[in-house]
Symmetry: C3
Subunit: 377 residues, 3 copies
Amino acid sequence: MFDGDVHGTVAPGFEAVRDEFAAAGVGGAGAQVAVYLRGEQVVDLWAGDMTGEALTGVYSSTKSITVLVAALLVQDGLLDLDRPVAHYWPRFAAAGKDRITVRDVLTHRSGVIGVDGGFTADELADDQVIAQRLADQRPYWRPGSAYGYSGFVSFAIVGEVVRRATGWTVRHHFEERVRAPLGLDLYLGLPSALEDRYLEVLPAPQRPDWASGPGPRSITGIGYGLDSTPPLDQVAFLNTRRVRALGPVSAGGVGNARGLAGLYAAAAFGVNGQAPLLTPEVLGEFSMLHSTGRDLVVGDAGQYALGFQAKGQRYPFLGANAFGHNGSAGSEALADPHSGIAFGYTRRRFSPTWSYPEHDRLVAAAVTSALHAASVH
Amino acid sequence: MFDGDVHGTVAPGFEAVRDEFAAAGVGGAGAQVAVYLRGEQVVDLWAGDMTGEALTGVYSSTKSITVLVAALLVQDGLLDLDRPVAHYWPRFAAAGKDRITVRDVLTHRSGVIGVDGGFTADELADDQVIAQRLADQRPYWRPGSAYGYSGFVSFAIVGEVVRRATGWTVRHHFEERVRAPLGLDLYLGLPSALEDRYLEVLPAPQRPDWASGPGPRSITGIGYGLDSTPPLDQVAFLNTRRVRALGPVSAGGVGNARGLAGLYAAAAFGVNGQAPLLTPEVLGEFSMLHSTGRDLVVGDAGQYALGFQAKGQRYPFLGANAFGHNGSAGSEALADPHSGIAFGYTRRRFSPTWSYPEHDRLVAAAVTSALHAASVH
Amino acid sequence: MFDGDVHGTVAPGFEAVRDEFAAAGVGGAGAQVAVYLRGEQVVDLWAGDMTGEALTGVYSSTKSITVLVAALLVQDGLLDLDRPVAHYWPRFAAAGKDRITVRDVLTHRSGVIGVDGGFTADELADDQVIAQRLADQRPYWRPGSAYGYSGFVSFAIVGEVVRRATGWTVRHHFEERVRAPLGLDLYLGLPSALEDRYLEVLPAPQRPDWASGPGPRSITGIGYGLDSTPPLDQVAFLNTRRVRALGPVSAGGVGNARGLAGLYAAAAFGVNGQAPLLTPEVLGEFSMLHSTGRDLVVGDAGQYALGFQAKGQRYPFLGANAFGHNGSAGSEALADPHSGIAFGYTRRRFSPTWSYPEHDRLVAAAVTSALHAASVH
């Protein structure tokens, strides 16, 4: 619980979000929360050792950026999700991967979640290196027959497809079309000039006991990067300047709650009086459930829309087509077209249990506030 | 438990069904049970405030009618299950639904389980209105990627396909080919002349506490109609004359246990010395498991054959290709080709838990009696 | 626990396997364990009333042979997994099975797990009889829509395909290309001259209580052969000379731990200084996950690669592409490309619980020993 040091503002009717934020346990370090209601920011809060402007590692919430860029390219007719990856990148056809589509990769159905022998920490910083190694790898399951989440590597395939289809990287598209025009505090490749705003991610008080868990070469181990050399240290990952500078598209993003909420608000509702970045048709396609049932990596806890997580499966009080992405260390970001909210949350310190129950309470408070506001208007 | 007021007859060897029926708790109101053995009625019982002739709402057991009509049309070569719905009904192709097949709809794999914004109670009475709204809707999951039960609306798509493929409604086909020739007490569109035999459905003593359950706009909420305006009152639904008169094909049927058992007996075994309505090939196709694993709406409890519920998954003592359909308020109907029984059951009062454990005991008693009869003959 | 009577040898560094073997409870009868490390035998142990040379029934570990032969034929270009079975065997197209592929059968996705009415014990001894009856049967689920293990019959389809595609039976291929050249103690069709080495399988002290379990005509009952006439007595099955002589390819094999381990060592790593029997590409294809999620017959416990069981799903400390097959009475066999081990285990007596926890400890000891040996070399 934050002892009286919650800062920032909430619009009338959203006080419940401040109350839940003040009551959240976040491991004795800082956190931020931001909420938009149909394109207008209604919550902007921070506490502990974070300011509203502070930046930290958002890990897999980074995938929000990558998927948004893919969606914009689909909208522009530059990317066809049902084409094989090998159409854009012929080398990827090796080892039985010729029919894997871009949609398969975005929905975690490709089976290409790592490489035999694992990656090195250096390799994991660089999407082009990751992509080249994945290109030679046999899938770990028959493509399309199941799905399993890959935290740190599989979206490098999306990155390579985007680069080859358009000549621009995901980072470049994001910067030009989204981040700079909107002034979002969310970076794929953090400029050195902003390094002084970066707050290091902090480890959990205790590490999770992987010894009794999945082996490093199991499907689960591969999906979580436990097979890397040395085994992936998630805390060190984004605390490494090279990672922040290169900004791998699976989990290498840096930002704050405002940036995360702003991205989803802009995508689904529009901000600054502008139209939403995505048309209803593209938004509908990307927010529709694609991968359900047991996640081969994570267990039962997955459930994906098209690249985005299906947030209505995670939070049953949301609408069926809510979408977003969370990340290690506890970041969370989503849009819920039904209630009209966009939500962003970051915290500095990993949870020892890898679960973040404050997400449920904060999102519920935001949605309840929004639906109540709608009913009185 | 019925205190000594069970009426009707059982054939020798089927006394166990009467015993189980007498012992059933049905919320202090009436119930009926009927069983056929290979086309001959062997159980005809009623109790409480129902007579054997009484009619009441059978809810989703109505789908038995709709699927039987679809099967007859397949048998006649008038309906091709693997054609897109849009082949018969072009407007349905909107919003990414062009490749959804009739089989997808019958097996709950289409993703078209409701509409954004929900239906009104008035709309839910009228299949043509439901169908038009569904035609414009984006599916809630990628068609074919998963399955999820839709209680009140999705079979309106089947109804529209039947109407467009043949010029006749499901109701008309059923009346002409099944109900009238066989004299079944089971109606899709209850004639006003029979209204005096209708006994109102009664609410459970307490309503289930949806407040702690799925949100109205979640996949589960949509599948159960919780997103309607006002939220669907299932008790009121069939107690509304307009619903009974129009007879929506998903859940708008009225009948009694004799009618339900008679339909399944006629379909699978033949009654009155006639051949079964369905050929072995069509029966085999429609009773074969199609959708298994987790039901996106219901949770783990689904499991469908082709339109019918896969009753061998529900009752493991039945044969692998037993098929049927149950309905709200506790109706149940099925055929088990292995033991030769057809079974029908109705009750007036909803259970507060939405579970009906007397089903298990009644069906088991019927099957055990039938298998024992076969072994002594 | 074996009281001091463990015999045989272990290579330095593999003493932990002997310790686990000595501690294993195997129902007061004999057992054998053999381990290869990259083609060299490092463990050869036996205890109780078995010698190292003794042969006993390995049940579904037999499928290791059948799948290996199929893989060799794929490697030779003589078998195309994605062709319909009916391409090789036209009669199989009956009853809706025209599009079932060889891959579907190997991955338990065909739905053809038994026949209406069940088999007789005599029929279950003879693959050609099984195959002919399966050819006329409608699948129990829509082919490809799910998977469910068939213990005793479905691989007869593979046998029929092999015979028709090549003119030789699985047994003949195995004998000529694998068993005789390598001198493996593993037989599909036990020669009468070796009958004196056969030790009868022993029943569990108590039989499992199927009465409270699945019905004989349920999907589960059919998959386990409970619908046979009389219900399949698994103990009697391989204790019948006719079964051992005919060697049905689903579960009719006889061998010892050396033979099982030797097969997997030869397939994945090569023995006697020879190349592996399977190329990396074919090995990769056959060890890749194909069928995951709920097994319609077994419940949650399945998970298949291509014909082989996906052992990395069974033992999370193995690599993601470990593969093998276990069998009733407690045989287990596998290869783990990551650690380099091949493992074989047999025991005479069924467990009353149908579970064999010594597998976990023995395989873990073998893998830990192998990885430790690799790290010190």
